[in-house]
């Protein structure tokens, strides 16, 4: 009997071996003991090469995303919750109700099985909350030093519920821009637990699915033009992309931006601007100006969007510009982030 095929069950103190990705018995053990019990559903159960799915009538939305966060676990979530919510939210930004996910796991040799179990439990829990099923998957193991614990790759399909076309090209002067809650919490929560910060922070990631909130806007008959989740690069980068694609000027009202005291405080200390910090459970909605007030009401009526606010207005055609009117009355340009935000010297 070869050592590689030794059918020892995974114990609590165990670590991932290269052989767990070798396609042999250890791979099967990993899938059957660690993945299937947490993620079980009729489409996944046969463990076939692909899933065969029932889909409701309508158009499909399809998206894909990779997740490489460090640390793997942070206040308010982990790489598993991020992987599910990131893909679910990308579908929601297409005006789609998320249905199915694929799950690719790239594990680093030596990863504690307990950590893998925690990530998989988070994936299962996040999928339950978002009412999506993981229907197909793949697992690979890379040598120690060639991964970062776990990389996760998810693709997702959903069925489009939005009534009209959605996208930057639909944005026009007079539209209002809403954000579904306080900004910057995810980025700050992750930064605060990275090595090298000598303070502790109570800030939890905002990582959460936003599809239900989007469906609530659609059901309320709000005229939606464009939806975007302000992940990497934050609100500023998302608005700049849309302003450029739509060829409009967008003016933010700085006092209207929802930022918690805790996020504002950490950003002050580190010399960061919350406008550029990632959110993982918020979305920006461009809505017809006349629907803005009602849309804010719909969002604020939901537990997960109490902090929703109208933050900007599409002013006029332009080459693509985002400005902000400050509390003092001055106006400045809000540019795309160049490179990463670097903490200041003093």
């Amino acid at each position: 009997m070869s050592g590689v095929e030794c059918p020892v069950p995974l114990g609590p103190g165990e670590h991932i071996l290269l052989a767990h990705g070798g396609g042999g018995r250890l791979t099967r053990d990993l899938i059957e003991k660690e993945l299937l019990p947490a993620l079980r559903n009729p489409a996944l159960e046969p463990l076939a090469d692909g899933a065969v799915l029932d889909v409701p009538p309508g158009r499909l939305a399809f998206t894909t995303d990779s997740f490489v966060v460090q640390p793997l676990f942070f206040p308010g979530g982990d790489i598993g919750t991020l992987a599910v919510n990131g893909t679910v939210n990308d579908l929601a930004m297409c005006g789609a109700e998320p249905l199915y996910l694929s799950l690719g796991l790239i594990l680093e040799e030596g990863l504690a099985v307990a950590d893998l179990r925690r990530v998989v439990a988070s994936i299962a829990q996040a999928a339950r909350v978002a009412r999506v099923h993981v229907v197909t998957g793949d697992t690979k193991v890379v040598e120690r030093g060639k991964g970062d614990g776990v990389f996760v790759h998810t693709s997702g399909v959903g069925v489009v519920r939005a009534k009209g076309p959605l996208g930057a090209k639909e944005v026009r002067p007079g539209d209002a821009v809403l954000v579904s809650g306080p900004i910057g919490q995810h980025g700050v929560a992750v930064m605060a637990v990275r090595d090298g910060l000598a303070f502790s922070s109570p800030i939890r990631s905002d990582c959460a699915p936003v599809a239900d909130a989007v469906m609530a806007l659609i059901d309320a008959g709000v005229t939606l033009r464009c939806l975007r989740d302000p992940t990497r690069g934050g609100v500023a980068s998302a608005l700049n992309e849309i302003a450029a694609q739509a060829a409009v000027e967008i003016e933010l009202q700085e006092p209207a931006l929802p930022v918690t005291d805790e996020v504002a405080g950490v950003c002050e200390v580190l010399g960061l601007d919350p406008l550029y910090v990632a959110c993982e459970g918020r979305f920006l909605a461009f809505v017809a100006g006349e629907d803005a007030e009602r849309a804010v009401e719909v969002l604020r009526g939901r537990e997960d969007c109490r902090g929703a606010a109208r933050i900007a207005t599409v002013k006029r055609a332009s080459a693509g510009l985002v400005t902000v009117r400050t509390g003092i009355g001055g106006v400045r340009v809000v540019d795309m982030l160049s490179g990463e935000q670097l903490p200041r010297i003093c």
Partner: protein
């Protein structure tokens, strides 16, 4: 947020603006010394809200901008030395040396780490006894106490694998260099609030008297800056030239004595070359002989090739307030934050970057 909101308050700002409008009877040119103040002024659009008689020009107080290119090259050479862990504040990483920058050096394999405090660099040295850790000690008098503490701590712990590459600069000699220039247009100064929090105001009285200029120690929030401007304008209109403090919640006339003692124990005053400005006598801090063991310049050989600035960069004129960033021929075209030709385009506190980030409205607003 307490201690911030009240200094970003629109009504308080309007009160100061009204007071300044009432005071001013003729044109005045003021310089804000510190890059943090420049950033606030441009970020909040204060220069556009002030009466047209007031011109603000942006001073040399951005440590990233004035660190000379030969020291950046030195940092790069040390960072690329096998086995070295090079620790730096974040915004030094993008500053161009003559051939590359620390971010690119990191991508090419150098172990370059961002720290938030020099004491973190000491901790890295303790945790990695088999490797040399070099900290890039950059900054004005503001960061000098913490950097001095790092050296004292490393000395107390007997660390032999920790050293600092010192590029410290001092504000008063730079103000004197600007005032003694025959082209100087500056009639009053907003002095740097955090530098004076450490050093106090003693060094500024002789400057104010000799050059007959008001010097008002000023904070960094928009209301703080308008408070400082109001005080300078009042002095100018009344023909006074005194040192005043408009940042009382942070600055005392004597400064922070324990911090000064730490700086004095570790550092001595040296001549320093400023990027874009050249050598200014007595404008820097260097390690005292007693701490030579911690001097990275003595541990690592000087790189061979001489350092060269981009000939197109007018950083020196910008840092002296003689030109505005957008008057530069390569501003926003060949020189951008992604591809900076000079340091003022790098740091968020650099005047060129501030103008690039916040002030392209007129150009960008035109439909293409």
């Amino acid at each position: 947020m307490k201690y911030l909101e009240e200094y970003r308050d629109g009504a308080a700002a309007q009160d100061y603006l009204a007071a300044i409008r009432k005071l001013v009877t003729r044109p005045w040119t003021l310089m804000e010394v510190c890059g943090g103040q420049t950033h606030s002024i441009v970020r909040y659009g204060l220069d556009e809200l002030l009466p047209s008689e007031i011109t603000l020009i942006h001073g040399p107080g951005c440590p990233v901008c004035v660190t000379p290119i030969h020291l950046i090259d030195r940092a790069l050479a040390i960072a690329q030395t096998p086995g070295v862990i090079f620790a730096s504040f974040g915004d030094m990483l993008r500053v161009p040396g003559s051939s590359t920058d620390l971010l690119r050096a990191r991508a090419a394999g150098a172990d370059v780490r961002i720290v938030y405090s020099p004491l973190d660099a000491v901790a890295i040295a303790e945790a990695n006894p088999g490797r040399q850790v070099v900290f890039f000690a950059v900054g004005f008098e503001t960061t000098a106490p913490a950097n001095a503490m790092a050296v004292l701590l490393a000395s107390r712990k007997g660390l032999t694998n920790f050293s600092v590459l010192v590029a410290h600069v001092r504000v008063p000699p730079a103000i004197e260099a600007i005032l003694s220039s025959p082209f100087c247009k500056v009639q009053g100064f907003l002095a740097a609030g955090h530098v004076c929090t450490v050093m106090g105001t003693d060094e500024y009285h002789a400057l104010a008297a000799r050059y007959r200029v008001p010097i008002v120690v000023t904070g960094f929030e928009p209301v703080d800056i308008l408070h400082g401007v109001a005080k300078v304008v009042r002095q100018l209109e009344e023909g006074r030239h005194e040192v005043e403090i408009a940042y009382g919640r942070s600055v005392r006339p004597e400064g922070n004595r324990p911090a000064q003692q730490a700086v004095d124990e570790v550092f001595e005053i040296v001549h320093r070359t400023w990027r874009g400005l050249g050598e200014i006598p007595a404008s820097g801090l260097g390690l005292r002989a007693a701490f030579a063991a911690f001097d990275a310049e003595q541990r690592y050989p000087e790189p061979g090739a001489p350092a060269a600035e981009s000939p197109d960069c007018i950083a020196g004129l910008v840092l002296q307030g003689l030109k505005k960033p957008q008057e530069c021929g390569v501003f926003g075209t060949r020189c951008t934050p992604e591809h900076p030709l000079g340091a003022p385009m790098v740091s968020s506190e650099g005047a060129c970057a501030a103008y690039y980030l916040y002030r392209r409205r007129a150009a960008a607003a035109a439909p293409s």
